[in-house]
């Protein structure tokens, strides 16, 4: 299986934050969600992949190319969507094409026009006149016009309405349908990934918590629920995280540890629940 993105032992130190030994692999043809609470290192990881930040250690390969030694070659295969657009807001949509297309030998003007029609973007509009969702689609339209093989999205859904978020997932599902494209998608709105992501990489406070298939990730944990008196010391010990409230408790427990609590209500956990419970590790929250 070809890997479109390989990150090995990636490290980066700032004065007040450190990213430690992050490793993950995204094979060709799949969607990976990069998740974690705000400030956990998602954007740092993406900027390191793009060589916009300088890494302190580790290795990054984009479609087999070193992200620094072969930076230009790698980037010509890469499409990027940030949470806000990176064009001049005075540009008309047609000017965006004129300004950007020269940098990509594979740019297909017909494809760009087709994408604009599909996304209902008027070519004569200025960037600043487009809604946030439209600006995101404009960035996608550009990436699709040079047939970027790997798409990296940094918090694309923050500030988008549910309709636009759903449209984005639809677009991404179509994008990977032929098995020749991959997506790395960072978000703290994990509901977006619950269904569409194939892989999950979960970074918590600069450390890698998990990287692997989403089903495996979700299957690692269960939510155990019960009345306050049912929260035994044994359960408290085994729980990854506990939330107590006057009428009972909810605990995130590793699936293999749930055997002892079969008398309680045991439910599958959502990605959101796993992130919430694991990032409050150690202490109860109310």
């Amino acid at each position: 299986m070809t890997n479109y993105l390989e990150v090995k032992n990636l490290s980066k130190s700032f004065d007040s934050f450190q990213l430690h030994n992050i490793s993950f692999t995204l094979p060709k043809g799949y969607i990976m969600g990069l998740i974690g609470p705000n400030g956990s290192g998602k954007t740092t990881t993406i900027k390191l992949i793009l060589n916009m930040l300088k890494r302190n250690g580790g290795e990054i390969k984009i479609m087999g190319l070193d992200n620094i030694a072969d930076e230009q070659k790698a980037k010509s295969e890469l499409g990027v969507v940030f949470d806000t657009n990176y064009f001049s807001d005075d540009w008309q949509v047609t000017q965006v094409e004129k300004s950007i297309s020269v940098f990509y030998p594979n740019w297909k003007s017909e494809r760009f026009a087709e994408m604009l029609r599909k996304f209902h973007i008027a070519p004569t509009k200025k960037v600043k006149e487009l809604s946030k969702g439209m600006q995101m689609k404009l960035m996608l339209a550009c990436a699709f016009s040079y047939d970027a093989k790997l798409l990296i999205l940094d918090e694309p859904t923050s500030g988008l309405d549910p309709v636009s978020r759903d449209e984005l997932l639809q677009i991404l599902s179509e994008y990977i349908e032929d098995g020749e494209h991959s997506v790395l998608f960072s978000t703290h709105i994990t509901g977006d990934l619950e269904r569409a992501a194939d892989y999950i990489t979960y970074i918590s406070y600069g450390e890698l918590f998990f990287s692997g298939s989403k089903d495996e990730f979700v299957d690692m944990f269960r939510i155990v629920k019960g009345g306050t008196e049912e929260l035994t010391p044994d359960l408290r010990e085994k729980a990854v995280g506990v939330r107590t409230f006057p009428t009972g408790f909810e605990a995130l427990v590793k699936t293999e540890d749930t055997g002892a609590f079969s008398s309680l209500s045991i439910e599958p956990a959502t990605i959101d629940e796993i992130v919430v419970f694991t990032s409050k590790k150690g202490d109860d929250y109310e």
Partner: protein
């Protein structure tokens, strides 16, 4: 098209919304030439003014956080920086050409005679002033951004004042100075070499700044 030229083209598209301001900046110095009845004054003003407008590229990229666009384009930072210098030089050349065409027409209409020597000395003087302004300004913009970097534009001004202050104190009979000043060809050659060296150093600094910069 080389990546450097693509970067230059991108810069032109950045300043497109300011095209009227830039056009006005190129034509305004006609008035200065007319008032002083001197093409040297007119061209000097034109080149100083146009040097200021090159900052638009930096303010537009900063306003729109376009360092992210530069971060994803398949182009080297050195190409991006060199492209910016080419843009600046192209803008300067346009201003020079516009001034050298329009100002003599106006001056001659006013009855002044504008000779080839006046034209050449105005061109060389203007070029030198333009280089002086931009070689400090651009690395300043790269290092400190479009607002704080503007301070660097005043370095040449401070330099002029210092020169004016120290010049009278220099021994006038310095043989090098007298030789150079007495031979226009030598003077022009010296200025051209100086301009090339200044830009080379400035580009080198800017590339270093950008390569060490984290976005």
């Amino acid at each position: 098209m080389s990546n450097t030229l693509k970067a230059t083209k991108l810069d032109f598209s950045l300043v497109k919304p300011y095209i009227k301001v830039i056009g006005f900046t190129m034509l305004l110095p006609i008035a200065f030439a007319a008032i002083n009845r001197s093409i040297l004054t007119g061209v000097s003003f034109a080149m100083c003014f146009i040097a200021m407008t090159t900052g638009y590229t930096f303010s537009v990229t900063e306003k729109n956080s376009m360092e992210r666009l530069y971060g994803i384009l398949p182009i080297k930072k050195s190409e991006m920086v060199t492209g910016r210098y080419l843009f600046v030089l192209a803008l300067g050349a346009m201003a020079l050409v516009v001034s050298l065409i329009t100002q003599p027409i106006v001056l001659r209409a006013m009855g002044e005679s504008v000779g080839a020597f006046d034209m050449i000395s105005a061109a060389i003087g203007g070029l030198f002033l333009f280089a002086l302004y931009t070689v400090f300004q651009i690395p300043g913009y790269y290092k400190y951004g479009a607002i704080k970097g503007r301070v660097f534009m005043y370095i040449p001004v401070a330099g002029f004042l210092a020169t004016l202050f120290f010049l009278p104190k220099m021994p006038a009979d310095n043989p090098i100075v007298t030789t150079v000043v007495s031979s226009p060809v030598l003077l022009i050659g010296l200025v051209l070499v100086l301009v090339v060296v200044m830009y080379a150093v400035s580009i080198w600094f800017s590339i270093r700044i950008m390569e060490n910069k984290e976005m």
